[in-house]
């Protein structure tokens, strides 16, 4: 479980997180939602230990995060970042095996090979196992890194998974597959935190949503509690319709869309285009 108290982060005179507090129990899947630059990734980086808080505390299983050694942390906590670029010509199976590095010295054991096999299968990339990662499409590469991150804690039922936009490049099937895997792991006892941009995906799979804006936690609760027109407008500045799906009994959010008039959208460009049209038609 994770307990965050009054977490604040300032970098180069900018405050990225302002007094964020929450706790997440084992067995919970929590989605972090919020506008671009709201501090979601910064929060994930603090939870993973990549960044040190300016003030406030983070505890993992009631022990302060800074008391963990890098190696211990790597065995019980896996993090999926946003950017993935494999530098050399590694194959899919080799990259997924890197997720097992914290668990063996020297050569991988039978258990490590089994974990790799299982995570490849669950991410639907068994067929690509021997192909170079660089030859795959963006969404497929993301599934490779998902498999690698899952492999890191696959055999640690009290493990922590921190995911920063894990499905940003995936197709619909694998977006749902990924969230279903994360939900299943949470139901096994894992603590899962994931940044998502698709509100409906989050509402469908997460136990709890945390909505952030300008480095603050604005709303925190089950999808049914948190998702209403007012909250969505306060976080995303978007009008939306919120309803209960009568078939799935899940909360659905239907954005009402945006409409920009030409003069509002970019008056100078619009006007100059108009002028050009006038000049062309008269000459």
């Amino acid at each position: 479980m994770i307990r965050v108290e009054n977490l604040t982060c300032s970098l180069h005179g900018k405050t990225l997180l302002r007094g964020v507090s929450f706790s997440i129990a084992s067995g919970e899947l929590v989605a972090l939602l919020g506008a671009n630059g709201a501090g979601k990734s910064t929060l994930i980086k603090h939870l993973s230990g990549e960044k040190k808080p300016t003030s406030g505390s983070i505890r993992l299983a009631e022990k302060p995060l800074e008391h963990y050694s890098l190696a211990t942390l790597a065995r019980c906590r896996a993090t999926m970042g946003q950017q993935h670029q494999v530098a050399a010509d590694f194959t899919v199976a080799e990259v997924v095996m890197m997720g097992r590095y914290p668990h063996f010295a020297g050569k991988p054991k039978a258990a490590d090979h089994l974990v790799v096999e299982e995570t490849l299968a669950v991410c639907g990339i068994t067929l690509f196992a021997d192909r170079p990662v660089q030859s795959l499409s963006g969404g497929e590469q993301q599934r490779v890194h998902l498999a690698r991150v899952l492999a890191q804690v696959w055999d640690q039922p009290r493990g922590v998974l921190l995911m920063d936009e894990p499905v940003s490049a995936m197709d619909m099937q694998y977006q749902h597959q990924t969230l279903a895997i994360l939900r299943a792991l949470a139901d096994c006892g894992y603590t899962v935190v994931t940044v998502l941009h698709d509100i409906n995906l989050a509402a469908h799979y997460a136990h709890r949503l945390i909505l952030m804006k300008n480095g603050r936690k604005l709303h925190d609760g089950t999808p049914a509690e948190v998702l209403n027109e007012r909250n969505i407008y306060s976080v995303f500045s978007m009008d939306a319709h919120v309803l209960m799906n009568p078939r799935s009994l899940k909360t659905n959010v239907l954005p009402l869309g945006k409409r920009l008039d030409a003069h509002e959208f970019n008056s100078f460009a619009a006007i100059s285009t108009d002028h050009l049209a006038v000049i062309r038609s008269t000459s």
């Binding site: 890098l70 970042g81 170079p132």
Partner: protein
């Protein structure tokens, strides 16, 4: 990936070829010695065939002239190969090589400096000491240049790779300019010495130089492969390596120190030998994949093989003279590398 060879096959083939090249090198040269005699001499040296007699002169040539030279070539080649592979891994860039952190340029500058002032200042000390002074100076130059590059690259006390690349380019340019200045001021004889030194040669090999180089080469060739797991993780990015429980700053420091020790010592003994640090790890990856648990030791082996073969050719092609080995490594290796590149390039574009 059907074109990739099985990794044990690569190890076995390289090792066998290395032995073959070594034995050939011992027999071939200005004084041709039959292979059988070479083998008997070697076995005598390790305690077999005590009763068999061999020609003393050829035994002397094998044991005192050619064997140290072959061993030296293997040590230098292995150092360059393994260091190149590790440097490419920490820079996450296949175009990196040991020279990028300033090792060669620093060594060249100091070597040129010593060659230029030696004739006037050190004539009295004698030629032998002069030679050691050259090696020592080159080693110091290699260390100093790398230390400068490393210092400049520190951001918040940790080496930053992008900065290190730029600092390396700057220090390389500075050392290159200073070397150029010395070459400009040097007289004809000095210029010739400087040029030959920069093209590299194993001609100075003796058991003493081998013994001097051995600890530097051994610690690097044995040490760098221990880092193959963190170096693999580097391919995912430094942050990812950190999240997998490795310490990127520590790994970078160790790689730079080990590479500088081995390459600096090798360059000090033999002059600049290009090509191996860059292309040997590449060839190894094209043959058997990118896993550093295989790439690092295999690059050491192939580096040793390449340099042994190159030195053999350098000695026998223009008998009784000798070609500079840097010329041979490039002439020999580039077509081979281009061949693999052209054969496999679709794989990289795809």
């Amino acid at each position: 990936m059907a074109t990739k060879l099985k990794i044990p096959t690569i190890y076995i083939a390289t090792t066998l070829l290395l032995f073959l090249a070594a034995v050939l090198s011992l027999g071939w040269g200005a004084m041709a010695i039959p292979i059988g005699e070479v083998v008997v001499t070697l076995l005598k040296a390790v305690g077999f065939f005590r009763d068999t007699t061999v020609d003393e002169l050829s035994a002397g040539v094998v044991m005192l002239v050619r064997l140290p030279r072959v061993v030296m070539g293997m040590l230098v080649g292995a150092s360059l190969g393994v260091s190149g592979a590790a440097i490419q891994a920490i820079f996450r860039n296949p175009l990196a090589e040991p020279a990028i952190i300033g090792v060669s340029a620093g060594a060249s500058f100091f070597a040129a400096l010593i060659i230029a002032v030696e004739s006037t200042l050190f004539m009295a000390i004698g030629h032998l000491l002069g030679h050691y002074l050259l090696a020592l100076g080159a080693f110091a130059g290699a260390g100093l240049a790398t230390w400068l590059v490393y210092r400049v690259s520190l951001v918040d006390g940790k080496p930053h790779i992008g900065t290190m690349l730029l600092a390396g380019i700057a220090i390389n340019a500075l050392a290159g300019a200073l070397t150029g200045l010395i070459s400009y001021l040097a007289d004809e004889q000095q210029l010739r010495t400087i040029t030959f030194w920069m093209l590299g040669s194993l001609g100075s090999a003796s058991w003493e130089t081998v013994a001097t180089l051995l600890p530097f080469a051994a610690i690097t060739v044995a040490g760098l492969p221990l880092l193959s797991k963190p170096l693999n993780a580097f391919a995912l990015g430094e942050q990812e390596a950190h999240l997998l429980g490795f310490k990127p700053a520590l790994v970078k420091r160790v790689v730079i120190v080990l590479a500088t020790l081995a390459v600096g010592a090798a360059v000090a003994m033999t002059g600049i030998i290009g090509f191996i640090g860059l292309l040997v790890p590449h060839s190894i990856r094209m043959l058997g994949g990118a896993d550093n648990r295989y790439v690092l030791p295999a690059s050491a082996l192939l580096g040793a093989l390449t340099l042994t073969v190159a030195d053999l050719l350098a000695r026998v092609v223009v008998l009784p003279a000798e070609l500079p080995i840097g010329v041979v490594t490039a002439l020999l290796g580039t077509p081979l590398f281009l061949h693999i590149l052209i054969r496999d390039k679709k794989k990289f574009v795809a």
